[in-house]
């Protein structure tokens, strides 16, 4: 009888500790969310969403160009980062016995933990300042009539740094999703006479598609909020997008520059930008999960 009640006590104590830990973890999170929502909503307006930024010191203006910039940067980064990450993930999961696999895995794991600002400074040196060209003793490389040299602060440099952040995240999650494909499904595909790569691309990827989509959204959420690498590669802009080799704005940059500015209206805009970023990430995540449940459930 005594043993039993002691057991009960331990059980209760453990659950209480868990609950307290949960509450402690939730308080700052909820606080941030509430603060961002209250301050963000009071700063949000239609003008804010359709106007571009005013040069510093001139009141008013909006954050539309930052929204556009973030969409462009994240889109470009996805175009580069997702396919590369996907292929790396496939390689890691399906070609485990390949002699390069341990090195690739090590590279991906180290890269995934890399501080974003280090990737930023790397791209700054290599592309923005153009050291990669100097390395080969040239000012620029020309293919056909198209020349590329030191990019200066440019949208393309920012997109590449975000892509580099995205690759290991996508690769790791894709590897995990693919390793969940049952052997019986892979063998069924092979027994139909599919080659190995066909069975991966037609069957395994399709089986793991919801996990792969989630991997992409996870990576997207991560890079959409990054400011550090962008500070070193695109610097920011007050205007609409003008070209891949020009400076470009982005929501995290708006939060950074406006958040530390002395002007109250700009600070309010920083809150609005934060709210938009959080909302976008939330909607992406929740929306995708609903779609996956509806469409991909079996």
């Amino acid at each position: 009888m005594k043993m039993f009640s002691l057991k009960k006590f331990y059980n209760l104590a453990f659950i209480s500790i868990c609950v307290i830990a949960f509450i402690l973890a939730m308080i700052p999170l909820a606080w941030i969310l509430i603060e961002v929502i209250i301050r963000g909503i009071s700063a949000l307006s239609i003008e804010l969403l359709i106007n571009t930024a005013n040069p510093p010191g001139i009141p008013g203006g909006g954050i539309a160009n930052y929204i556009q910039g973030t969409i462009i940067l994240v889109g470009l980064a996805s175009l580069i980062g997702f396919p590369v990450g996907l292929l790396l993930g496939i390689f890691l999961s399906e070609y485990k016995e390949h002699k390069l696999a341990p090195y690739v895995r090590f590279f991906v794991e180290v890269f995934a933990e890399f501080p974003a600002i280090v990737i930023g400074i790397f791209i700054y040196v290599i592309l923005v300042r153009g050291d990669i060209f100097k390395l080969f003793g040239v000012e620029k490389v020309c293919i056909g009539g198209f020349c590329i040299g030191a990019t200066g602060f440019a949208a393309i440099a920012g997109a590449i740094s975000l892509a580099l952040l995205m690759i290991p995240i996508v690769a790791k999650s894709v590897e995990e999703s693919l390793s969940l494909v049952p052997i019986s499904i892979k063998e069924a595909a092979l027994s139909l006479g599919m080659s190995r790569w066909k069975s991966v691309f037609i069957i395994s990827i399709s089986y793991a598609r919801s996990g792969i989509l989630l991997a992409y959204i996870l990576a997207l959420s991560r890079i959409a909020g990054e400011a550090a690498p962008l500070l070193l590669t695109v610097l920011g802009s007050f205007y609409w997008f003008t070209g891949l080799f020009d400076r470009i704005g982005a929501l995290p940059l708006a939060i950074f520059t406006y958040g530390i500015s002395p002007f109250e209206d700009l600070k309010a805009q920083a809150w609005a930008a934060s709210l938009l970023l959080i909302l976008a990430i939330l909607i992406l995540n929740i929306g995708l999960k609903i779609i996956i449940k509806r469409k991909f459930a079996w």
């Binding site: 069924a188 027994s191 139909l192 598609r209």
Partner: protein
């Protein structure tokens, strides 16, 4: 006897562990050959060597010759110049646990084998899919749910869907690895009837731990023990007048 597969001195390993020892057997065309034996005797390994699936496991090895006398392929399937994926197109496989592709519809589960074999004509695919489902005695039960997921069917239906998938691309041999062991008696008897029907068009090799099943449906039976082929004979003969002592002990239930 018209032979479709002639296996000569087949040996197989899992890493260092040898699972098959010099198995030699001739499989007759358009008949059902059952492979029986206690758990771990190498029945499944043997089956998986016939469509070169065994060698895909890490560290697995196969030595020996398997001559296949097919419509479009004649020769040793373990010849170094032979592409295993080509071999697998001549053989359909049905696994122990039903494994339809859950992300594909009932229809696509059957159609996928055709599509990867380069058939693009939609009408033709349609015709073959319906015909395969019919042959697998499944069409009547699924004709209203062709677009539903392959995993939405019952276990027995899923296994018949796997059979439809395996026969759709018109292989010559059906390899069946205890196809009814995960099913209830009614589903089992449906599949047994189906197999007897299918041997008109296909050569069937079925691995089973169920001796009654072997006795009911097969024309020839092979008894394996500890990785060796002990006896191979017409089913009636093997069950009524076994020549080998081990076979007799096994079929009379003295071990196994």
């Amino acid at each position: 006897m018209d032979i479709i597969l002639s296996v000569k001195n087949l040996n197989a390993w899992y890493g260092e562990k040898q699972a098959l020892f010099d198995v030699s057997i001739d499989i007759p065309r358009y008949h059902i050959t059952a492979i029986i034996g206690p758990s771990g005797c190498g029945k499944t390994t043997f089956l998986r060597c016939l469509n070169r699936l065994h060698e895909l496991g890490q560290g697995n090895k196969v030595k020996g010759e398997v001559y296949f006398y097919g419509r479009n392929f004649k020769g040793n399937i373990y010849d170094p110049n032979v592409d295993p994926t080509e071999i697998r197109k001549h053989m359909g496989m049905v696994f122990q646990k039903p494994n339809p592709f859950p992300m594909l519809s009932v229809y696509d589960n059957v159609a996928i084998g055709l599509k990867i074999n380069g058939i693009k004509d939609k009408k033709k695919i349609d015709e073959i899919v319906m015909n395969s489902l019919k042959k697998a005695y499944l069409l009547d039960e699924v004709k209203d749910s062709l677009n539903k997921s392959g995993a939405s069917l019952s276990g027995g239906q899923q296994q018949r869907l796997c059979i439809a998938r395996a026969i759709a691309y018109n292989p010559e041999i059906l390899l069946m690895d205890e196809p009814t062991s995960a099913l209830d008696p009614i589903a089992t008897s449906k599949i047994e009837q189906l197999l007897v029907e299918l041997k008109k068009e296909f050569t069937i090799i079925i691995v089973t731990h169920n001796m009654q099943q072997a006795a009911r449906i097969s024309d020839y039976t092979a008894f394996m023990y500890l990785g060796k082929l002990i006896e191979f004979a017409p089913t009636e003969e093997l069950f009524e007048t076994p020549k080998h002592e081990l076979t007799e002990k096994y079929i009379t239930g003295k071990f196994g």
